[in-house]
Structure formats: structure tokens, C-alpha cells
Amino acid sequence: MGDMFDIARPSHTARQAVEAADKIFAERETKRRGKRQPAVSAANGLEWVTLLRKVADAQDTDAFTALFEHFAPRVKAFLIKSGADHAMAEECAQDVMVTVWKKAAQFDPSRASVATWIFTIARNRRIDMLRRDRRPEPEDLSWGPDEEPDQLDILSLQQESDQLAAAIAQLPHKQRVMIERAYFGDLTHSEIADETGLPLGTIKSRIRLALERLRHSLS
């Protein structure tokens, strides 16, 4: 997969970058035809970012409705697969979507896709719901109210997230089942493989760069 989106930083405006990203998405979509479809369609990552930003900036209920219709049933299914009954999963999925609204401005699209961010909210809600062990977290690092993450960091991270979804869809069945069991809370630490062999190196590097820029802005 590699770096399909290496645009020289200074010579491109954000708009050119968006156009370039659209072109790449379109090309990838063409290439993919005939191959097995990944669960996430290619351009989704950026679309969800745009919608979530409308919620944060303008309390846009249409944007929120689109997010709700896509993610709420997935959160509910995720909670059921993690051991909740239907009524509890329904209630908690609504709670998760309320948190999505409230925390929309905290979302940093240079470090996570919207699906990833909602996953972390759902995971934390699940820990409360099932009275699992408390899970302390490192202090959150975030941009101040007056700065924004770099546009190219956002585009590359969202694209990397879409590529990760495609790469996971290509993994052998056995390995995918192992990952699902781990994330539905079925595997203990000692049951997880020592060498997971997962294609996480590229997205990690992107996040690392975005973190460096954030640290720089904080100092």
C-alpha cells in the first residue's frame, strides 16, 4: 500500500490537497473494482470528518443525523458482540452518540478517523456498562481553541485509515477473527499473540508526525 499520498508540503494549498485526495480516492476505487470490497468505502473517512466538524462548529443536526444513522447501529452491534443485551446496548449506543455531540470539538482528525474516535468512546462506555476494570488514561493532548491541525496531516491520516480498513479486510480469516475477539473483549492479554503481524506501521508513522507537530505547537 505504502505512501500513495506524498504531496510536497509547501507547494500545495489545502484545496489543492483535497482535490488531489479526491483524485487518488477515485483512482483507488477504479483499481479496486473486481477485488473484494472492504467494509469502508474509500472516501468515507474525509466525509465523516466534515460532518463531525459541522456538528462541532454549527451544531448541525443534519450532519449529526447522518453520523447517527451510520454509527449508532454499529456501536450497538459492537456492544452486543461485547456481551451486552439488546436493551443495554441500545441505551449505551445512545449515550455514546450524546458524547459524540458533546465532544465533537475535541476530535483531532490528524490523529484518528471518526470511526476510531467513536470506537474509543464506545469502548469506554462498555467498560462502565460491564463494570470492567477501571482504565486510567494518559492526559489527552489537544490543539488549543485557536489552532488547527495541518490539513495535509488530516488528509493523509484519513486516507491511511481507509487503507488500514482495506488491508484488514484482506487478512486471512483466522487472523481477522483473532482481532475481532480481542476487540470484543474475549481475549485476555496472555491470549493475544506476541507477534500480531498487523499492518499498523504506516498509520503509526503518520500519527507520530501529527503528534510531533502538536507537541511543537504546545511548546
Partner: protein, 215 residues
């Protein structure tokens, strides 16, 4: 410069939310000190995002009133605006640990003999977390490990036959690890030590001391 990091399986289990509390604390504390592992964790969270996307099941849908009920709950409130981090960094205790220890200038140490001290932190029972103070230049009792043990250095450094561990470094030890770490001269070594099984000391004196360790 941190040289000893979390394992993939610890990061994955932390991302999935399936670790005992004491291990969660050690992972969170290392990440507070290590941006490399912060980025690695974010990549495991991204994997969780992929799993969430795929979690849709044909027989699972939200109740018909769900959207309107949710909109009703949010309509009164604006999303919380972003704020700059202002929490001061503590020289010894990163944020996740501070919640468990309290005031870093008044750590409630209990003597272990020989100048060593500990403070047990309140977590669920499956694993134990404690702060350990090993006086500069002294040996940590020779011990083997019954289960998984994480040792995260917060101050000073220790070294064993193979490696040196300074602030932020985390040692991951298991049944196969037998070692005799020594705190470096200079500064007392303070660590967060987390284990899911009692330590088994191999020397006579440390065995006598074991009842006082409270583990």
C-alpha cells in the same frame, strides 16, 4: 531517551479495554511519558475503529425513537469547546499515576527493610500495583516471576545483567526472567511495579522479608 517500550500485545489489550486495572495504570503511565507508544496505541485504536465499522449486523438496528430521543438530549447543549492543556507536569508522577498516589511530596511509603520502601496502590485484585523505592546503589532482591511483571522507572535508574532502565523505560518480565537489578548510584530509584502474581524471592533473607512486602 526511552529505550524499553510496551509490547504490541499490551497495547492491543489496553486498546481493547481488557487489561486488569493495575496493568492499565502501567500502560497509561508509560504512554504519558512516551510519544512513540502514544502513536502505537493510536494505531491499535485505529484497528478498533475498523472493527467497529465492521460490527454492523443485519439484525441489529436502533429503535425507531432513538434518533429523536438523542437529539432531544443534545439540543440544549453546545459541544464543549477545545481548551489548552494547562495541567502542570509533575517531575515524578505522570497524570494517570497522580490520581492513585495523591500528593507526590507526601507519598505514604512503608519500609521494606534495607532502605527499600513501597506504597501499594488501590486497584482491583487481579493484579497489584505499587511504587517501589530502591536506595541508590543497592540491589533489588533476587527474584523470579510467577506471572507477568511490569516495572516502569519514574526516577533514577536500575540495571541488570542485560540492560539499563531509566525514566520512562518499562521492563516486561515473566516466568522465564531471573535477574538481580541494581539501582544506579546517585539518585534513589523509584519505580511503578505491577504484577499479576506474587514475586518469589530466591535468597534466604529476602524470603524472610517477603511477609513484610504485603504481596
Amino acid at each position: 531517551m526511552i529505550n524499553h517500550h510496551l509490547s504490541d500485545k499490551l497495547l492491543m489489550a489496553y486498546s481493547a479495554g481488557s487489561l486488569p486495572e493495575a496493568f492499565n495504570l502501567a500502560v497509561a503511565t508509560h504512554i504519558a511519558l512516551c510519544d512513540e507508544c502514544r502513536a502505537r496505541l493510536a494505531s491499535f485504536d485505529a484497528l478498533g475503529g475498523v472493527i467497529l465499522e465492521e460490527a454492523s449486523a443485519p439484525d441489529v438496528s436502533m429503535e425507531s425513537s432513538a434518533l429523536s430521543a438523542t437529539l432531544e438530549r443534545v439540543k440544549t447543549g453546545k459541544p464543549t469547546p477545545r481548551a489548552r492543556q494547562t495541567a502542570p507536569q509533575d517531575a515524578l508522577l505522570p497524570a494517570p499515576l497522580r490520581d492513585y498516589v495523591g500528593d507526590p511530596s507526601h507519598i505514604r511509603w512503608r519500609s521494606l527493610g534495607g532502605g527499600a520502601k513501597q506504597m501499594i496502590l488501590a486497584t482491583t485484585e487481579q493484579a497489584t500495583a505499587r511504587l517501589l523505592l530502591i536506595p541508590a546503589g543497592t540491589k533489588v532482591p533476587d527474584h523470579s516471576h510467577g506471572g507477568l511483571e511490569l516495572t516502569l522507572v519514574l526516577q533514577g535508574a536500575f540495571a541488570d545483567e542485560h540492560d539499563r532502565f531509566g525514566r520512562g523505560d518499562i521492563e516486561i518480565a515473566d516466568e522465564s526472567t531471573h535477574h538481580q537489578p541494581i539501582a544506579e548510584p546517585g539518585e534513589d530509584c523509584i519505580c511503578l511495579a505491577v504484577t499479576d502474581a506474587p514475586l518469589r524471592f530466591r535468597g534466604l533473607l529476602p524470603r524472610l522479608a517477603q511477609p513484610f512486602l504485603g504481596i
